[in-house]
């Protein structure tokens, strides 16, 4: 259980150039173990989305090291980055579904990169059933509500049975009740699949689903309990 699946060390990041250069992350170090559900929280502008995109190989590292599933991302060639991305289930702030494809087809786009999953069409149907969208399989994103779309996005992330799920403010565009339902679904399914979850949110109502909460403020981890800090290996 205590194998680290994500490790980051001295991770710093800056936006802009020259006079406009602004550091958003300051030498973050930590570990996330297999099967953990970790929430990164903090106010807007604290750098939590930047942190998540760095972990997810969606942004090139500038300084420090990130290891995901045993692969170093710093200076990694495109092939390795693709490989890492394929093993991560992403859920974005806005659903980011392909408008021109049905819910089912959106899942298939993900599955096409995973030939190891046999009968992809069935797998997609099953997972859409699990998130309660069994009747909406053939609908296009614009025919679905915000909550339904976010559930399609969750289904798309889960259907490839990823070892890691990264979620960026998955409840941001949803009302409190829908947000809660969506996050609980995400939590249950991920746990059942044994996936590690790293979720970024400013929504305090969902913090209780986490095994561990990392609080980011101005690019630094703050206010962690000693127990938590000990578990991350910061102490």
């Amino acid at each position: 259980m205590n194998t680290p699946i994500i490790e980051f060390k001295d991770l710093s990041y800056c936006f802009g150039e020259g006079n406009l250069r602004r550091q958003v992350l300051f030498s973050l170090t930590g570990k996330i173990n297999a099967g953990e559900v970790v929430i990164v929280t903090g106010p807007s502008g604290s750098g939590k989305t930047t942190f998540l995109t760095l972990i997810g190989a969606l942004r090139s590292l500038q300084e420090g090291s990130v290891k995901v599933l045993g692969r170093e991302l710093y200076g990694a060639p495109p092939k390795v980055l693709r490989e890492v991305r394929r093993n991560i289930g992403f859920i974005f702030q806005l659903h980011n579904l392909i408008d021109a494809l049905t819910a089912h087809q959106n899942l298939i786009m993900g599955l096409r990169l995973h030939p190891e999953i046999k009968s992809p069409s069935e797998a997609a149907d099953n997972i859409l059933n699990l998130v309660g969208l069994g009747d909406h399989v053939r609908k296009y994103p614009h025919q679905l509500s915000g909550g339904q779309r976010q559930r399609v996005a969750i289904a798309r992330a889960l259907v490839i049975r990823p070892k890691v799920i990264l979620a960026d403010e998955p409840t941001a565009s949803l009302d409190g009740k829908t947000g809660r339902v969506v996050v609980e679904q995400l939590h249950d399914l991920a746990t059942k699949q044994g996936s590690t979850v790293l979720l970024v949110t400013y929504d305090p109502r969902i913090l209780d689903i986490a095994d561990r909460v990392l609080a980011l403020e101005d690019g630094r981890f703050v206010g962690m309990t000693i127990r938590e800090a000990g578990r991350t290996g910061l102490l």
Binding site: R85, F90, A100, H104, L113
Partner: protein, 391 residues
């Protein structure tokens, strides 16, 4: 609940047809680009075709022209004696003189004098391979009888063709003399003339008493069977050895004419500029369309990139979308051009021919524009981290 076949779909195609209005706008733009190119090269080639039609139908492998010869119709000639010398060279079967001149033609409706192009031939010698001319050569043996080009501008010469079709042969006034229009043939307007009249040499010199049969405008040289025109052309030039004449193959003669109108007279140049403008405007339109297509889809591409798709996948996708758009835009663009060709031909007397090679040029250039535009727009995706591209 399994949906068989649901996993087989093409993202390329789905994305393309998802927004019907955007697709329609893209196709309209690309059609317009195709139309611009096709109409411009259509005009260009119609002008060239028309200007060289007589030349291309000369029934001889070689021609002798005076040294200063500018274009078919320019006021240059050479001594018939020189042509007779050619007749004596081994390998030459026979020589035939051709005469031409601009002359005044009295508009049959208004009575105004108009310039028309007159060509004098030896009747019965099949000097032109135009079928209508060959069929009516016996009419040119009658002194005072001429053939009238039915593509001559009606607004310029009057309702000659209608009159003829209605009443048969009738008299008109050329160079102040009465001649009979005894038949029609099909040639078309050129850069030089709005109409053409064909006649036997005896009629020609009746109309132009000051002209001399000893001064030839173009000499036709027919070779014996199996003689190579290129070799014979050099040989004849060598034997004649003079600065007063030039010997050309028929193809060289045609090219000489095209060069004159394109380079010296710069009339053809206007159409080349038109065609290039058409291409550039078309390229800008197509680039705008495909660039917008890629930019609009960037967040979706970023999502797919996050799933693990490679840049190559997107290049393939955009390449396919660009090619599909160029094919789909080409079809209405070509149909529309065909309509414009038809009406232009009817209005101007030019032969507007939507040939396969023109369609191929238009399609190739459209496809190249589409692919280049798509790939240029793709640079946006290649350089960026996926995180930079999300909405």
């Amino acid at each position: 609940m399994v949906h068989p076949g649901q996993e087989r779909f093409s993202l390329t195609w789905r994305q393309l047809i998802f927004e019907k209005r955007r697709l329609a706008a893209a196709l309209a733009g690309i059609s317009f680009a195709v139309l611009l190119i096709l109409v411009q090269i259509g005009f260009y080639s119609a002008m060239n075709n028309s200007a060289t039609k007589v030349l291309r139908h000369l029934n001889a492998q070689l021609v002798v022209i005076p040294a200063g010869f500018e274009f078919f119709g320019s006021n240059h000639d050479f001594a018939r004696m020189r042509l007779m010398q050619v007749a004596g060279i081994a390998g030459v079967k026979e020589v035939l003189p051709l005469y031409y001149s601009f002359c005044s033609f009295k508009n049959i409706d208004t009575g105004y004098q108009r310039w028309i192009f007159c060509i004098g031939l030896e009747p019965g010698r099949h000097m032109l391979t135009l079928p209508e001319v060959i069929a009516q050569e016996n009419k040119m043996t009658i002194t005072g009888d001429v053939l009238f080009d039915k593509k001559s501008l009606g607004t310029y010469f009057g309702t000659v063709v209608d009159n003829f079709n209605h009443d048969g042969p009738f008299a008109v006034t050329v160079e102040g003399r009465n001649v009979t229009i005894d038949g029609l043939f099909d040639l078309g307007v050129t850069f030089a003339a709005f109409g053409n009249v064909l006649m036997g040499v005896q009629t020609f010199f009746e109309l132009f008493p000051n002209a001399s049969p000893n001064l030839v405008n173009v000499g036709l040289v027919r070779l014996k069977k199996g003689m190579d025109p290129g070799i014979m052309s050099k040989k004849i030039s060598r034997v004649l050895d003079g600065k007063d004449i030039k010997v050309l193959t028929r193809a060289e003669f045609v090219q000489h004419e095209i060069n004159y109108w394109n380079n010296t007279a710069a009339i053809g140049f206007l159409f080349i500029v038109g065609a290039i403008m058409g291409f550039i405007i078309g390229a800008v339109i197509v680039y705008q369309i495909l660039y917008t297509n890629v930019i609009n889809h960037l967040p979706e591409f970023a999502t797919l990139k996050a799933l693990g798709y490679s840049d190559r996948f997107f290049f393939g996708l955009v390449l396919k979308q660009s090619l599909i758009l160029s094919v789909l835009g080409f079809i209405p663009g070509t149909l529309l051009s065909w309509v414009i060709y038809h009406y232009t031909a009817a209005a101007t007397g030019y032969t507007m021919n939507l040939s396969l090679d023109k369609a191929a040029i238009a399609f190739t250039s459209t496809a190249i524009m589409c692919v280049l535009a798509g790939l240029l727009a793709m640079r946006q995706l290649k350089s960026a981290d996926p995180a930079e591209l999300f909405r």
